[in-house]
């Protein structure tokens, strides 16, 4: 399990990275935490000719608040985000989601940017990112652009990022006080990739009805996705058990799961219903606090 030969370079600035990417295009790969890329290379499933190590780009390692958003540098470690008081206070869904990613040692190395670009359909960060309707900032030879989740995730392990682009920042909203949130998942063991992961958000009206619901599912389709029909039945409603089950049903129907060794498609599909309902219950129980 040794990688094929590759060249290695460790630039210090975003500009250098972009210029290297522009020169080498498909030949080159960004190395962030290496927690997905290194296994791929060691199995020789990927053989990049050049590794551009961005671990020296301190400028991409930050978490800050800007108005009603949190800005997270593309190279910020998963563990840093998970433990950040700012994120816990203002966007607890993200901290919670990250706590399900692998194990501490992996989160110490793995980056938020790397996880999004790797685009594993059961990845917790991608799923939370969908529910949060976040944005990623990509920088390329033609400047920068912002990409939303629907546009970003194309299919299994594939995003719309160009080979010449670097993900430099992730933007997620600050959740208003009283927002209900929940991240839940089923996995075979603690730390395994999710059989199904569910992120839900309930934005509430002053009268206790739900203004907007967001339900994102991971692991049950080629990309994480929003269960929009399910969200719609909740919007504007006073949420109770009946609506929760209905939303669960609809979310389950929206899933497009596949069989694998760990769980059948049918099981995953069924779990989509159950986990969405459970997650909505948890989110509902969390609404209104501090209002």
């Amino acid at each position: 399990m040794k990688p094929a030969a590759f060249d290695y370079i460790a630039p210090k600035t975003v500009e250098e990275v972009i210029s290297l990417l522009t020169t080498h295009e498909d030949e080159a790969k960004i190395l962030a935490g290496g927690q997905s890329l290194m296994p791929i290379m060691n199995f020789r499933l990927g053989r990049p000719g050049l590794l551009i190590d961005i671990n020296g780009l301190d400028e991409l390692d930050y978490i800050k608040q800007q108005d009603d958003h949190l800005l997270i540098g593309g190279l910020t470690r998963e563990r840093t985000v998970e433990r950040s008081p700012l994120v816990r206070d203002l966007c607890p869904l993200l901290s919670q989601a990250i706590s399900f990613v692998g194990h501490t040692a992996i989160r110490n190395r793995g980056t938020v940017g790397g996880s999004l670009v790797h685009a594993d359909p059961s990845g917790e960060i991608p799923t939370a990112f969908c529910a949060l309707d976040g944005r990623v900032k990509a920088v390329g030879p033609d400047g920068e652009r912002w990409i939303d989740p629907g546009e970003f995730f194309l299919t299994f392990l594939t995003t719309s990022l160009e080979p010449t682009e670097l993900l430099v920042e992730v933007k997620v909203p600050v959740l208003p006080q009283g927002t209900g949130w929940s991240f839940m998942e089923l996995s075979r063991r603690v730390g395994d990739f999710a059989i199904i992961g569910v992120a839900t958000l309930l934005f509430m009206n002053g009268d206790g009805t739900c203004r907007e619901a967001r339900i994102a599912l991971g692991g049950v389709a080629p990309t994480p996705f929003r269960a929009e029909e399910a969200e719609e039945v909740l919007a504007g409603q006073a949420i109770g058990e009946e609506l929760i089950s209905r939303a669960g049903e609809l979310a389950g129907e929206a899933a497009d799961a596949e069989d694998d060794y760990h769980a059948s498609a049918e099981y995953r599909q069924e779990m989509a219903k159950i986990m969405v309902s459970r997650s909505l219950r948890q989110a509902l129980a969390r609404t209104g606090k501090g209002n």
């Binding site: 094929a4 030969a5 020789r44 075979r188 063991r189 603690v190 730390g191 060794y261 049918e266 986990m275």
Partner: protein, 808 residues
Amino acid sequence: MPDPEARRWVGKRYKRKEDLRLLIGEGKFVDDIQLPKMKHAAIIRSPYPHALIKNIDTTQAEKLPGVRGILTGQDVKEMSKPFPCGVPIPPKYYSCAVDKVRYVGEPVAVVVADSRYIAEDALDLIQVDYEPLPVVMDIEEAAEPDAPVLHDNIGSNIYSHRLMQYGEPAKAFEEADLLVKGKFLFPKYGSTPIETYAVVASYNPVNQEFVIYNNYQGPFVNHSLVALALGIPENKMRWIVPTDIGGGFGTKTGVFPYIALIALASKKTGMTVKWIEDRREHLLASATGTDRVTYMEAAVKRDGTILALKDKAMDNTGGYIRAPEPGCAYRSTGNHTGAYQIRHLDREVMVVGTNKCLTSPNRGYTCQELYFSVERLVDMVAAQLGMDPAEIRFKNFIQPDQFPYTTATGGIYDAGNYQKAFQKALDIVDYPKWRQEQEKARQQGRYIGIGIATIVDPSVTNIAYVTTALTPEQRAKGHPKSGSGESMTIKMDPLGQVHVIACTNPQGQGHETVISQIVADELGIDPDGITVSNVVDTHDRVYTITTGSYSSRFASVGTNALVNATRKLKDKLFKIAAHLLEVSPDELVLENQKFHVKDQPEKSIAVRHVAGTAHWHQTALPEGMDVGLFASSLITMPTSKPPDELDRVDSSNTYGFCCEVIVVEIDPETCEIKFHKWASMHDSGTVLNPMILEGQVMGSITHGLGGALYEEFAYDENGQCLTASFQDYLCPTSMEVPDIDIGHVETPSPFTALGSKGAGEASCESVPVAVANAIADALAPLGVVINELPLTPSKIWHLIKEAKAKQA
């Protein structure tokens, strides 16, 4: 047996001597070995489960700078012979595929290069043309006459097949009030030691001798097998195993073909060659336990007495069969009836081949397969009789006053008090309370289940059992085998310090520590000062063909050899001291490292001076005594005899007891499993070191939990392995193991010097079925049938769905 009160060290939580070097990274493993001019090997492996090798083109690879040579199946065929195996017609099993591959991952060629990187680059450049053949993956299909045949010289996929009867099963089946039967499917799972296979081989053309470092825990039969395959005298092959092995669990038995392969690579290239198996190779192609299909039927009296068992068990050793197989099917012969007084047995045993990875013993060596059917069936019998599963076990247990107890199949159970241990486990869990909780939960639509398994854990394999693969007539024509010998040497240096030379090559069991404790007690000295070297070096150790650390041998035959050697040394010390003090040895007392005459403490001599005399003043020794101070013992267990003409054999020579009582709750929606309570009770005789024992039992439980819920080498119908990385082959971690109450009952074995016996394999034999029984119990009202493992939530969910559909 010494008075337990007099033991200062045995039985104490004496800290492991091995830990410091391991914790600070100073362990010595095969991969730490660096030799001059050492090169590195990588192995190209078959992507096909069954295919003809039409051509291997190595020209491009040979041109790669840094490549020193390539060994192919053709070379292996010319340079070596197939490994012998104890079945009527062995397949032609070489260390590398010759003409044909029979499982995914089978070695096809070896590249030797300046680094492992270059060697792997070269693999990419080798062109192998395959012609795929039809595959057979299912055990029962493999035994059918129209199945694709793996080995033309055998003509079918059946490697071993025997019918055996013990007692009068037909009569018992007639007398029964009730017959209960089931079909049980046990998965293929393994051991995943942290350290994978490792070999460094070096051929010396001057004396035609191989020096081979490897990480197999004993020469055992493997040294002879490799010598036979290489066609060399055994003494021309020196095996050295470094101080540390990173886990074995049986899997490492399968390193022997790689020892031959890398030795051949060394011979062909003229280089010293190192090969360290990587994790993918290990999961894909090292060795696993056998998967097994069992049909088992019990003949039962209305009062719950189990009169007889009738079973047909089919094992699967994969693309070939190799030693110690067909042990899988015969190893548990003596304890086939478990903890019960079942006197009649009708057995059919079959070992077949499929296009799966090969097998080796896997901690518990097929006792988990055996008890999965026996203990599931006992529960099914209880259910049919409306009896409590605990009660039916008490009903059939061997009684404490029946030991030593000879089973119908020839096992001689040394000691035990199954009732006491089992009751203790039930008490810890508060069994009656949980039965009530279960009742309540059922009314609320919750699934609580209590799983029990009560099993007998054999240790110290008697090598004779392997010959039960042959009929008594076939055996009569061959050479008999018997024994379970182990060797220990103890010496005292001129300044009176003790060093022990063992050959058990532990893989984490802490033999250095326990050896020190035992010797300290025997000689009345401090264990800290005792040094132990415990490695295999076939040129400078004495051993027998059974030597090594497998089948939990150390605590019984290992300690027997140790105590025996130590007492010989002590005897010599007494004789010298008596001679010097001009008294007879029985007038002497050994106390505080001094010999003194009884009631005359002033008439004394220090042990150190006695030792000094043996070395420095040799003519002062008693007439005719050998000079110096050492003693060796190579002994076997007395019951290690060949099978009799009725196929009865004491297949192991000590037998512990173990039981699990487990309370689970299954989430009715997701089918996830939660453990409410778990008691694991053990009787492995005298406890030598409680701390080490706890570690062994915890590991064993975890390994068993793996088999129950997580671990399986799964293949698709095309023969591709689905679980060749740790992302898919799931071993339980500390997060998956619930709180477990581990307890001990100590019934000393009369067959061992200290009363101790094996302990590290028990729970991996009982846990898979105990967990299955718990899940079956939880889902009993739904009519769910549990007869397979691992029980994943997805699988349980489907079982419930099917059962509900049937009930509707």
